[in-house]
């Protein structure tokens, strides 16, 4: 039923698009920009969307990097992501990120807050302090199933 010309068009279209697709995926591999724009934290109580960029560019918020990134305060190139050290409760301690520089005996793993506690303290504490945005009282104001 299909004429030869139509088939050839389809073959060409498929070939060109596959190559184009391959090139696009190869040229722009999925990577998060530095600093990240937004972050999605996955948790058992639902995911939390955190607008990272808004917190340091937003005119009403305008935080400095060091307000949250409390390690390597002197060197902006070496900020750590929260999750590097604040591991989830079932992860192996001490975190590899700490061991990169520190000796194991220097780290007090008991003192280091777990990820859930650290995030709840950081987000909720700050929001309550400034009376801005959602507080810690309602889970569903941040967590989304």
């Amino acid at each position: 039923m299909t004429s030869k010309k139509e088939l050839q068009t389809a073959y060409c279209l498929a070939a060109i698009l596959l190559v184009l697709g391959l090139l696009s995926y190869a040229a722009f591999p999925a990577k998060t920009p530095d600093p990240p724009v937004r972050m999605m934290f996955q948790g058992v109580a639902g995911k939390v969307l955190f607008d990272h960029k808004l917190h340091f560019t937003g005119t009403e918020i305008g935080l400095a990097c060091t307000d949250c990134h409390h390690h390597h305060e002197e060197d902006a190139d070496r900020f750590r992501a929260c999750g590097d050290c604040h591991l989830t409760a079932d992860a192996e301690m001490p975190p590899q990120a700490c061991l990169d520089c520190h000796d194991e005996s220097e780290i007090d793993a008991e003192e280091l807050p777990k990820r859930t506690d650290a995030f709840h303290q950081q987000c909720g504490g700050c929001h309550e302090e400034y009376g801005a945005g959602p507080g810690t009282s309602a889970c569903s104001s941040c967590h989304v199933m």
């Binding site: 088939l7 389809a10 596959l18 697709g21 990240p36 989304v144």
Partner: protein
């Protein structure tokens, strides 16, 4: 039905105007292009990758299925390319290539070829495929998670998600004009409302889509959302918001009127469209899912054969 248009048929010989499946497919692809181009512009090279891989693999799978089933090659009719394109329009621009390829495999294989190819599928292949993908890899096709790295000039949250989880008060940020012009997170080709409407009108004028289904679908969404909104405006969003967000417009013009899974008679078409629209709003406002268009279309596909029983009596049939 006595006032039907009567066509005057002249004597033979007749002349075929050259239209066929191929022309229908390419008209539909053309109609989808404004929305797709807007998506490519908004999401950049990753979106180009997703669209290319989707269309390319769709043609590839069609070819492979034809070969495996020892049937004549049907890739020339453009229907596979169309399925790939519409699939790409619904998914986020950061979907990994393998998920896109599996999605088109499901659409072409399980959605269409298993039933004997074009014209045999009881469900819209794209909707079947995307539903299966959402069940399997929900995080990949979740717009809030997938698009975190895009720095938009507008509110970057998926509007229907905001409505579902944070209520009507939280959607004040979205202006209807912005939503219409594609200033919302969503699928590559599903956000640019104006382009979808223009494409839909083009399809209706070309005769690829009958006006009954999209109009009834949109009317169903509008009226049921309006009733919800009047009953309790503090809990249910306005009908315009429902019209302009999620998959509503692409659903009305490209998903619901798919050839073999939608009815052919006027009254069934109206019921089919309106039912899909009402189900969409019911799922969004009462159900647990964020967007209801996919499930509503699947559900209406399911009752499509029943709807088509409502038809004029055959000429000369007694009793």
């Amino acid at each position: 039905m006595s006032k039907q248009n009567k066509y005057i048929v002249s004597h033979a010989p007749f002349w075929h105007d050259g239209s066929g499946i191929r022309e229908r497919s390419y008209h539909t692809i053309l109609a989808a292009l404004p929305a797709v181009l807007m998506g490519l512009f908004q999401y950049g090279v990753p979106a180009v990758g997703v669209v290319s891989v989707a269309v390319g693999t769709a043609i590839l799978w069609e070819w492979a299925m034809n070969k495996a089933m020892k049937r004549p090659l049907t890739i020339g009719d453009g229907n596979a390319a169309l399925i790939g394109l519409i699939f790409a329009m619904l998914i986020p621009a950061t979907t990994p290539w393998w998920a896109v390829a599996v999605g088109t495999l499901i659409a072409i294989g399980i959605g269409k070829q298993i039933f004997g190819g074009i014209g045999g599928n009881p469900f819209n292949p794209v909707v079947v495929s995307l539903s299966i993908l959402i069940v399997s890899w929900g995080h990949l096709v979740d717009f809030d998670t997938a698009l975190v790295s895009y720095d938009f000039a507008f509110n970057p949250s998926y509007p229907l998600g905001v409505l579902k989880y944070f209520g009507v008060a939280a959607i004040d940020d979205f202006s209807y004009l912005g939503l219409l012009l594609g200033q919302q997170a969503g699928g590559i080709g599903a956000t640019f409302g104006l382009g979808l409407i223009l494409g839909g009108i083009y399809l209706i004028l070309k005769g690829c889509v009958r006006w009954e289904i999209p109009v009834a679908f949109l009317a169903g969404v509008f009226i049921s959302a309006l009733i919800f909104n009047i009953v309790d405006p503090s809990r249910y969003a306005s009908p315009f918001f429902h019209l302009l967000t999620g998959y509503t417009l692409i659903g009305a013009f490209f998903l619901a009127p798919e050839d073999s899974s939608s009815p052919v008679n006027p009254i069934p078409m109206l019921i089919y469209g309106a039912g899909g629209g009402v189900m969409t709003v019911l799922i969004r406002n009462i159900g647990v899912f964020v967007d209801g268009v996919l499930l509503a279309v699947l559900l209406m596909n399911l009752i499509n054969p029943l709807l088509d029983k409502i038809r004029p009596k055959a000429l000369g049939k007694v009793g």
